[in-house]
Symmetry: C2
Subunit: 352 residues, 2 copies
DNA sequence: CTGTTAGCGCCTTCAG
DNA sequence: CTGAAGGCGCTAACAG
């Protein structure tokens, strides 16, 4: 029915072992023999049986990339970059290439664990976990345990855009400096003269949310603005445009005199702009707005968005290479990637 | 070292076959026995060996979802929907769930074929191919051959947001009515009184581009506007914001008097808006703009974008269910999904 | 309902 | 450099 390695061997008049060797390129094979085998492979249109080879070799060519939201370009960019970095390492031959696949957890901790189990079951060669983590201790413990098991089974684990984890299960971590970026963003606003700054935060339980909020508070505190208003001018929501819209309306209700709104990310900032505009406020004349991430659409927003650029593509590529073992991990296993303040048209000095 | 099914069997004092049966739930097992087995599974923290089971059963629990650009929400939404439809079919037990994974071809025909081969190698249970197809006959032939082989090997093939293919390799096709949607969009502009309408098309070699352009031309021809200007007022580019920007500048150079620009999709439309604005033209007062797809950001654009809504989420869910065999294919194997004209603020009657 | 018996297709020592 | 042989862990008849 389906062509097997034995069929190829027969046609090439060699042993199955030899065919295996040329396909994997792990052992020396005479050039002429290799030639003959390769021809037989083409003629028979042979496709390696992945499960069988994974079973025998106790490792597969599957690499999993976990993302929180596949419809969000933030993850799409990182995942795409990682995937191409992994795919490009392939040789193009019948054997060799990895199958880099992305798994969408939808932000659900259960699905995150489920996917990891599924990848463990497949004996994945590597796993890249992207995006902010849940700060819930129970989940962190479960996740650590699962990643440790994966690591023990020979799966290389890489974290990308996520804070480091305890233990030595993780081969490498690429963390974004969310706190530092957020701090410099708020400092920019402060330097323009803003004092009443609203903050639209993400979900409380996410590390990204915490870090960015901490950075904001750092800057406010340094400017002597850490009064009771700090909490009153912070509203939590999800990382969506709708959430930014709602939160900004709430902020406006709490303090109609605020002169700037900092959003958890660019998508949220878009919602904030909509709410502001709807309230008859001009950006940045009446209220300045800032985001985070610098997604592609941010420069096209009207007015173009002041934000913090995160090198998502570069980070994804690096994570992919680390997952392949093509790069050596950073010293200590952890690299912190800084963000870059991008000052554009959505921020200006407050009126008056 | 690693726990195997035999270990579980020994601990539960049953045969390996019985363990396999409770894990797969395919054969009747006494409730009390099942109980014992499940307990052993938990106690030993057993994880099924995917490759081994795939080898023995000659099919894996892997489902591949191919997308052209993972950073584009158009694909992210469909893929996410398909993935959750597939994941939700699982039982949550140690066996049963499918591993739905998305593969990013980056629009490259070679990578499309490579991914298909990789999935074939893994003996994937199903494959969902999303998005517009290349119209190149050679690639269509290669793709058809590959899909046929996949189908023959027992992989269920589903097309989503892509035109039907020849042959019977494909189990089901969900095609968008790009032509009809484009036609109604241009008719809307025509009915507003526009006559000099520029068209920013996608890459010539994509089916989506052709279909949408055909629909546009249909409407223009019906209005008696199929003169030599038709070609002069059409510029091709990629499905990116930058391309929309460049193409619109070109259009403006060719005919500064045009009163409307129709873009290949919403992302391109955003670029078009930027170019128009930069040229000192107001939207929609001086020039109307329309997009296609109705991505989430389109309603937040300023002004909000007139476009054609495609039910991406619904289509993705349906494709996922079809891939699982949970839904019966539409009659004839092909369903055409209509788009819905969304008239918003970016289109208005021409001046004067 | 449960145990026994063969492989699934490939990799990998071990010889030669 | 190449062949022979055993087994990876699981499933699928086949009996009972």
């Amino acid at each position: 029915m389906t062509v097997t390695l034995a069929d190829v061997a027969a046609r090439a008049r060699v042993s199955p072992a030899t065919v295996s060797r040329v396909l994997n390129g792990n052992y020396p094979v005479a050039a002429t023999t290799r030639e003959r085998v390769l021809r037989a492979v083409d003629e028979l249109d042979y496709v390696l049986n992945g499960p069988a080879s994974a079973l025998a070799a106790a490792t597969s060519d599957l690499v999993g990339i976990l993302v929180n939201d596949i419809a969000d370009p933030f993850f799409g960019i990182m995942a795409g970059a990682a995937q191409s970095a992994i795919g490009d390492t392939g040789t193009g031959r019948a054997g060799g290439e990895k199958l880099a696949v992305v798994c969408n957890t939808g932000g659900s901790p259960e699905r995150e664990l489920t996917y990891l189990t599924l990848l463990q079951r497949q004996r994945a060669a590597a796993v890249v976990v992207t995006g902010g983590a849940l700060v819930d201790p129970a989940h962190i413990a479960a996740l650590t345990a699962k990643l440790t098991k994966l690591g023990d089974a020979g799966t290389r684990v890489v974290l990308c855009g996520r804070p480091p984890m305890p233990g030595d299960a993780v081969a490498a971590t690429l963390a974004f400096d969310n706190r530092g970026g957020a701090r410099s963003l708020t400092e920019h606003l402060l330097s323009l003269g803003h004092r009443r700054i609203g903050y639209v935060a993400g979900p409380v339980e996410r590390s990204t949310t915490r870090d960015r909020l901490d950075g904001h508070r750092d800057a406010m505190t340094a400017a002597g603005l850490d009064g009771p208003d700090a909490d009153r001018l912070t509203v939590h929501g999800r990382y969506t445009r709708a959430s930014g819209y709602d939160a900004t309306r709430e902020l406006l209700a709490r303090d109609p005199s605020l002169t700037a709104v900092v959003a958890a990310n660019d998508t949220v900032a878009l919602g904030a702009c909509a709410a502001l505009r709807e309230a008859g406020l001009r950006i940045p004349d009446d209220v300045s707005v800032a985001g985070f991430d610098d997604l592609p659409f941010s420069i096209d927003a009207v007015p173009s968005l002041t934000t913090v650029r995160l090198p998502l593509h570069e980070a994804g590529v690096r994570a992919g290479r680390l997952a392949m073992g093509a790069d050596t991990p950073p010293p200590g296993g952890v690299a912190t990637i800084p963000g870059e303040l991008m000052v554009r048209a959505s921020t200006a000095p407050p009126r008056g």
